[in-house]
Amino acid sequence: MLTFTLRRLSLFLFTMLVLTLLSFSLSFLFPGDTVINHSGQINATETELVELNNSYQMDKNIFSQYTAYLKNILNGEFGQSMASQSPISGEILKLLPATIELSLVALLIAMLVGIPLGFIAAINHNKTSDNAILSLAMIGYSIPVFWLGLLAILLFSIGLGWLPSAGQISLVFEIEFVTGIQFIDILLSDSPYKWQAFRDASAHILLPACVIAVAPATIFIRLSRASMIDVLAASYIRAARAKGLSFPQIIFRHAIRNALIKIIRHVGLQFANLVTIAMVTEVIFSWPGIGRWLIDSIYQRDYTAIQSGLLVLSCFIFIIHILIDFIYAALNPLARGNNYGS
């Protein structure tokens, strides 16, 4: 387990090094002055410029420039947004929780829908219901998310008027920012309309979360179907059947447990995919998350924001991967032998 941990940690360090190198080099590749790209201070005065040059060691060689850049990042100094002139770390801290919240709810929906459907398909292998579920999964996987999002708004918000189409919560409610995760903030607030706000926030998250969940759900369907088919073909299932266990007993006691263990790892891998989809969906549903912010920064040519946003987001996804690796290792002793990270 120690080697496993060390391996993951070293992998993390080296990946982070490459990532920072990339974002560092972006400052040189983007148009404009390097130190201004680093710091985002477009209206810096002479003295401020001197200070900045000093802090990023611009007069020294490229290696010390890079270490100075690293030092700044480790201190949480991501510079400031060129568009809004406020510190990027603050903006990211405000926006990232909303994206995490949306992705988590979407992941939950995807798992709750995808995994049982996959099991059903596997149990009815090569029957009509299997084919139906598989073709459904194929359709779901092929639909582009931006189109699905607009379609969902057209149907559920405009046509039927069931669900809201934009934002995290109706602006009627005033929820103070504490953690950034809307549901927790609502529960923490002392507003007399707490529970209405909670319900309103649930209604707001439902549509975007479902749209995001479609693609991972189809992947879960195929994964769980494949793993269930494998398990059902295994000899211990045959043994159980020979012992005279009833069909539900075999499925619930043996098959599901063994099939799930193979899926858990992919849940983590899907999370990265999910965040990518979430970024597009955030734009469509005006979700105040980091994806929308990043895309806005591209439109506004806010180089500092693009650079630091990418760094933080990729770092975040990487940490999730490592965490999932650990959880998987904790659950499945066989995986601890895997010395090399993937």
Binding site: S157, S165, A166, Y193, W195, I261
Partner: protein, 566 residues
Amino acid sequence: MAVLTMKFKPMLFLMIIAFSCLLSGCNEGNKLSLSERTIIYCSEGSPETFNPQLSISGTTTDATSKQIYNSLIAYKGKSNTLGPSLAKSWHVTRDGKKITFYLRQDVSFHDTSYFTPTRLFNADDVIFSFNRVLDKGHSFHSVSGGQYPFFESVKFDELVEKVEKINEFTVRFILKRNDSSFLANLATDYAVILSEEYGKQLVLKNTQHDIDILPIGTGPFKLKDYRVGSLIRFYRHDSYWQEKAKVEQLVYDISPSKTSRLTKLLAQECDVSSYPIAHEKIAERNDLILESITSLNVGYFGFNTNKEPFNNKKVRQAISLAINKNALIETVYQGQAVRAKSILPETSWAYDSKTPELGYDPVRAKRLLDDAGYGQGFTMDIWAMPLQRAYNPNAITMAKLIQADLKKIGVKVKIISYEWSTFLRRLTRGEHQSFLLGWTADHPDPDNFFTPMLSCSSSDKGSNVTFWCNQEYDQLLQKALKTTNMSKRKSYYAKAMVIINEEMPLLPIAHSKRFQARGADVQGDILEHFGGISFVNVAKKAVIINSEEKNIKVLSQSLTADKVKN
């Protein structure tokens, strides 16, 4: 362990949902009242500042002027006559150079988290607000840039000698010359009254900048929260000196995208939406109302009266008669405008309904051309402005339509367009023969149309590029400015309009309309007659509560059912 959690997750989730529904069900009644007490307005952009003195952008004045502030006097009613506001009355001396305002004594400023007023509104606040604009040495003059675009455009500092405090509740303006549009300027969205006490407090804290970011005014709403590009939240000003606002909360949902405003409107996420698109779609829904108001602007087709053949009145009349204005309004404005009969919109108090209109008559046009000696036709240039404005959304298309119209009377048209600044520069040099342009008024005083567009003095200054100069017309305008008698002024302007329609230095085409959509449950006027918006009179109709009550019943039934099972 994993298997366990996996199995429990769905159950946990269901429990959470059930729990939240249960608790929210109990509060059902309040939810209605909260959204009923709030108006959400989908606005088209973020304000640049919270002080309309500093900006002439419509988005800024919409978000601030009528919501946060009051002015000394205000336009009242459909005819846009001046009425009292913070000044309960005023007196103008016979020479028109001294104007005394008697102020209300019961007006309180906003009490917010960042400022608590200790005194009521008085003369000091008026002097503070106007001296900030007028006096370059004032401690707040150069805060936030020191630019006061509206006041600069009307040359306020050249007009006002000084502002005096007579006593606690009396203020006198001393003017350098008599100008009857002075009062009109004071009633605009830009001449708002700030709090002098707040200013003093900010000086002590050395945060003068806050005066334009965290505003304090006397208006019906006070600022609660502002997030750039996202929302503005206002609370009701409970000790407002007039009847207080009917809603407790006013939220501006800043949605610059036209389609997202439409979506939010259709999904009932906003109660009122500015500048909606898809008018037909909105009109066909019975839960939405589309309304509009004619803006104080005019799009026109002007002639260079210095150049052949447009130095001939008959040619100008002939060309004007040959243009089918109704077709232009249908195509270019897509019906979002009214046909202009004169340069002054019909909503102005000075508009005279008896003003003659030339109309559309190609046969007469041809005859006039024959009379003028151009029977065989000629070739002319039309300069079309290169950008979109409310008064002319697409000048190039309009020029093409005019081209087709004029072809029928044998006049060939070449369409010319330059980049905007080049276009304006060349226009002022007089290189054009005819041009498509427009004018947006800064305030509803009719003089704001007549003088800058067509007077001799503005043809020197460059805002009148027809270069038309008519002494009789100019004298009428002078007379109208010197008197404060409304009916006399109206008759002068009526005569001026007759002269324009006879001489035809330009052909007024259309006054554009400002559109707005709202849910059918929103009551009260929002669009002001002279432009701008105000939410003070807006309320929401009670929604039928029955369906909600039913839900609660169903819920409680299912709860009892659960208990029985247990």
